[in-house]
């Protein structure tokens, strides 16, 4: 799943920004963590949700209509 690998990479980059800001709490790292880092993290989680919802819908469509609860 390419999308999930991208999501995982985005999460790692976002986490790196956040950890950097905690190790070196100066203006640039703190601002980057609170903007870019969180944007990456949010985008990554959005991609994850999109992939999971898409998978669930596919599974749902595979089940014949009479077997759906």
């Amino acid at each position: 799943m390419t999308a999930l690998r991208v999501s995982a990479l985005l999460t790692l980059i976002g986490l790196a920004f956040m950890v950097w800001s905690m190790i070196e709490p100066t203006p640039l790292p703190v601002m980057l963590a609170m903007s870019v880092g969180q944007a990456f993290g949010t985008a990554a989680f959005g991609i994850y949700l999109w992939v999971v919802v898409r998978e669930l819908r596919r599974e749902y469509r595979r089940v014949p209509p009479q077997d759906r609860s």
Partner: protein, 211 residues
Amino acid sequence: MASWIIANPLIAAAIGCAGGSAILLLWYLLRRPALSHATKLVLLAAIGVLPLATATTGNVAGFEATKARRFCGSCHVMTPYQNDSEDPHSPALAARHARNALFGEDNCYACHADYGMFGTIVTKAGGMRHIYEYVFHYHDMSLEEARRTIHIRKPFQNATCMHCHSTEGPSWNAIKEHASLLDRVRGGEVSCASVGCHGPAHPFSKLEDVR
């Protein structure tokens, strides 16, 4: 650095969550397991729960870090202000407050914060503007030029002083200048930090004729 992280439980928790998330993500990226229900749950923790915990605790730690004097002093144009605050012999108003344990390491924030209903948000928004101004206008400025160029944006509010010095106490009112100017001080007509009263908080930053 390790002792500093251990001494801050929020930072330790944030770094712990980030580490846990990174381990799970590296496992997923290197092992490339099938997208089973178990894998989805692991990824929910690695991409959702643990990073959210890191961001939440990291934000709180970040907001606390922005209150510290060393944070303000990390922009070079603020170095003289930081040095003066840390000088145990400085007679400046800012330095005298920094020597008070109630202000201590957070003395810049304590005096420059907005104490209104949305004060924290207003203060942080102002801080964002400071970063913008520094990056785009003052980054390469010499300290001498910065001393002449950079000024407080709005006149210092007496309300900030009155956050601690209420003007209600008998010892405060026992000073005849305080008593005679009580209404004008409360109304902001006479600044506590004016030259005839307590003087500017950072006298070295003022032009020669104001000292």
